[in-house]
């Protein structure tokens, strides 16, 4: 059985059922996970999922005592949903006193709920009825053993969850971004909160069968977090997370059916994690590479600004003195890679020309250098006038802000100086380009 066959649903009926069921779950969990994440409760699904265990075991015991069919799926799921709901309510009850924080409440409910379940399971094992085997599998997830009925139920639930999310998109978005605002415009925030938690519970309980207790959390959190890295807009984030959840589930199910020995739920989680890592590295705005690139560009720009200022000030004081890269670099404290890159960049951009080791500013380079020097002196004077700093400190403080603050802020500082200390502003004025120009 190859991966391609598995991905095209032609690797046999069972594999196709598993892949479709998991993908349906991934779709619903991804979409819903966005709202849960933005509501600041990413791990509530974790607490709820662990707290299903006592419900499952309790429903089994109840059925055994009442003489019903012990493996009835609806009964077990109802038990799971009931205790998970109690757990979610307990989290908010525990935090009400103000002594126990959200995180501690979730950890407590999670572990105590699970512990209660473990005890009930040990009671179940002593009951004189059959069918106990596989109860643990029920909680830990047996995606590979999913039946067509399970897959249909999950598909139905996923469709319902997606429908509700679409219908309630606006109010849910308002709830997630600004609860006070949502309440102020007359939205029923408590009911919406409960609806969101109810949907989360339904998907969590359904997911027990698809990917298992611990791995439900993965599909609730990871696709939503991945989508959050890729976009700032909720209208994009929700479908993206849903698609990512479905993709991870479909790829993971395919991989695990193609490579025997790979457990389905864990493989799906690892695929989702891989997508997250890819987004973490390559996301256009919030990704690590984009971040590193912005940092590198900033440090390069700062070094360029320093070099141009050094060149300008040298031209100001002694126009005839020759200038070499070593002077510029030493003044700006260039690192090795900046020493390699900056001269090329500055020449290619047409700010400087180099002839026989002598560096000279071009007219456009001179204009830029003048602007940069003026900006630096403006900030220096502003720091001295408004902040009362000594000249040396003002120089350092100016250097910290001038490269990153947008031009509007610089104009504001200039306006402030013009109002409060025009003499100082005039003193910092640099001569127009023509006077300081060096002839090579």
């Amino acid at each position: 059985m190859t991966l391609l066959e598995a991905l095209l649903f032609s690797a046999g009926y069972n594999a196709a059922v598993v892949a479709l069921g998991c993908a349906g779950f991934g779709l619903a969990a991804g979409a819903l996970g966005c709202f849960v994440l933005l509501r600041g409760r990413a791990l509530i699904a974790d607490a709820a999922a662990h707290a299903t265990l006592p419900g499952v075991a309790g429903a089994f015991i109840l059925a055994a005592l009442a003489g019903w069919e012990v493996r009835s799926l609806p009964l077990l799921l109802a038990g799971a949903a009931a205790t998970a709901a109690v757990a979610v309510l307990l989290v908010s009850g525990l935090t009400a006193g103000g002594r126990i924080r959200d995180d501690a409440a979730m950890a407590l409910v999670l572990s105590i709920g699970f512990g209660t379940g473990v005890v009930l399971i040990s009671v179940v094992q002593s009951l004189p009825v059959g069918g106990q085997a596989g109860l643990k599998g029920f909680i830990l997830g047996q995606a590979a053993g999913m039946s067509a009925a399970d897959a249909r139920m999950i598909g139905l639930l996923a469709a319902l969850a997606l429908l509700l999310v679409t219908v309630m998109f606006r109010p849910l978005a308002a709830l997630c971004f600004d609860r006070e605002f949502a309440a102020a415009v007359g939205l029923p925030v408590r009911a919406l909160d409960l609806a969101l938690l109810g949907l989360m519970l339904a998907v969590t309980v359904a997911g027990l069968r698809a990917v298992g207790l611990i791995l439900v959390v993965a599909l609730m959190v990871i696709p939503a977090a991945t989508a959050r890295l890729l976009t700032e807009r909720l209208e994009v984030m929700v479908p993206l997370a849903a698609a990512m959840g479905a993709l991870a589930a479909w790829l993971g199910a395919g991989l695990s059916s193609a490579l025997p020995g790979l457990p389905t739920g864990a493989t799906i989680t690892l695929v989702a994690c891989t997508l997250f890592v890819a987004a973490l590295l390559f996301a256009p705005r919030r990704g690590a590479l984009a971040f590193a690139w912005r940092q590198a560009m900033l440090s390069l720009t700062v070094a360029r600004d320093h070099a141009l200022r050094v060149a300008f000030e040298a031209a100001e004081s002694s126009p005839a003195a020759p200038l070499a890269w070593a002077d510029l670099g030493r003044g700006a404290g260039w690192s090795a890679w900046q020493r390699a890159l900056l001269p090329r960049w500055m020449e290619a951009a047409g700010w400087v020309t180099e002839r026989a080791g002598q560096v000279a500013l071009t007219p456009s380079g001179l204009a830029l250098a003048r602007d940069l020097t003026r900006r630096h002196r403006l900030w220096e004077h502003y720091m001295q006038a408004a902040g009362g700093l000594a000249p040396a400190a003002a120089h350092r403080a100016a250097d910290e802000v001038e490269h990153t603050l947008p031009p509007e802020v610089t104009r504001e500082a200039e306006a402030w100086l013009r109002r409060h200390d025009p003499a100082r502003l005039a003193e910092g004025e640099v001569p127009p380009p023509g006077e300081a120009e060096r002839t090579p």
């Binding site: 572990s111 105590i112 643990k136 989680t269 973490l280």
Partner: protein, 316 residues
Amino acid sequence: MTEFLQLDLAPMLAATLACLVCGLVGNLLLLTRQSLLGDAISHSVLPGIVMGFWVSGSRAAAPLVAGAMLAAVAAALLIALVRRLTRLEPGAAMGVVFSGFFALGIVLIEVSGAHAVDLDVDCVLYGQLEALIWPAARGPGALLDAAALAEFPAEVTTLAVVLALTLLLLVLLWKELRLAAFDPDFAHAIGFAPRRLSLLVLVLVSVACVAAFWAVGSILVIAALVAPAAIARLLTNGYAAQFRLSAVAAVAMGAGGYWLAALAPGALGLGHGLNAAGMIAVLAGVLLAFAWLFGPFGRRGAARRATVAGHPAAAT
């Protein structure tokens, strides 16, 4: 008596020591609002344990503990990195990292062949308290008999060593930890390195988690970490009292939980023993409920604060 020594003494001691170690360390987590870190770490150690097993080829404690420690520290650092890079909320960063680690561990178990031996998810999730027996105890005299004591389960001895280490660190760093817990900004301002201290806390939590694993399993480690501290927090405002009360709560839930699990089946007429690790968590829940209902800072505390807030004069 002989039966108690052979079957119950070692697991009871292990449960008590595990709760005590975790409960004391848990105070540091609770006070710095990092309770879910226990959840994250206890899931994340799985791949480390499997790797340790894979590399060493045996269930000897040292490589497993080393692997678990490595995985725990790696997971915690990754969580911090993801948080810094993405500015996601801490819960989401933890969720991504620990579910990934746990899934990796499950896959490694299958791939490495550890499944064939008794290293499986069940043993990590539920612990194996009941497997700690001391067959060499042929009577009360065994407690003084060096040969019999040498066969005492190593898990218990390890836990005792870890407890001693934890107590030593707590005593040595008492003031520093207090400062870092209550006022990290001030600690930073007076030239302290809260970062190095929080790394130490992290390592301590990892050690406690790993040592307690074999006793109570990965999920119930979380109860042992958070419950004693939370119970104490509902009962007191003091820093030293917080640690004392949490130690009492930890001993009560560890020893009491084991005792209940061993005794309750007979009383209820069940033919089968109850899971002791689970019972410990249940007892923790009961103690927590009592503390919340009747403690000075639980439900009543909230009610009192509400009335104080209603009458501003009373507050001043």
